[in-house]
Subunit: 137 residues, 2 copies
Amino acid sequence: MNKRSRLDRHYEAIPIAYVESSLVEPADAPNQGDEGAPAAWLVFVPEVIDGLSSLKVGDRIVLLTWLHRARRDVLRTYPGDDVHAPYLGVFSLRSPDRPNPIGLHPVEILAISGHRVQVSNLEAVDGTPILDMKPVI
Amino acid sequence: MNKRSRLDRHYEAIPIAYVESSLVEPADAPNQGDEGAPAAWLVFVPEVIDGLSSLKVGDRIVLLTWLHRARRDVLRTYPGDDVHAPYLGVFSLRSPDRPNPIGLHPVEILAISGHRVQVSNLEAVDGTPILDMKPVI
């Protein structure tokens, strides 16, 4: 297995949905959804609608977002933007700034209306792309 | 916000590491790591080493893999490949086959040696790209 030849490899992550939220600026978003984030709608792209067919109101799911406004060149930072905290490697932090800015969001489904799904407590800003949605196990 | 113009958008996910494992064939991998998956090494690419600086043996983390051998055109399937089970939308399942085949793996760090990190119970096959690693919260 030639590892060197794979360093330049990348994979194309395609949004399955976008967030519609009253949260507009990343600075207004809480660090975690249970710290007062609002409910939000997910608007799915037509191509993936069949994947929604078994979702029910009340399901607990994990949303995977692509945090498109994050920085990808950050490898060490301060947790919670607290410069008095220790300066840590990003793989020990939940900071959005990291090589692949994928966010994990445990949420509950509040409503389903065609290609639109409302979820609780989502700390992602309006327009954030969604890459995946999985049941909590 | 013009949603239509964003349907063709994609994001480049770049592997930060690759799995080194005795698991070679996806058919041999258990459905979940706690169903008998082996320990495995993660071999990080040189560009992201600084991000590892705060990891410790015993840390519990969530690994995000890109399941590169999964099918991306599947929107409904049978859970656990059981054709007698109900036929469900993939966003209600943990199946690797889905539009963005990102796997979530809760593991524990067993050893750290330079750019190599050993983790417990990883059901991903040898060569699987890793996209991210986050602390469990």
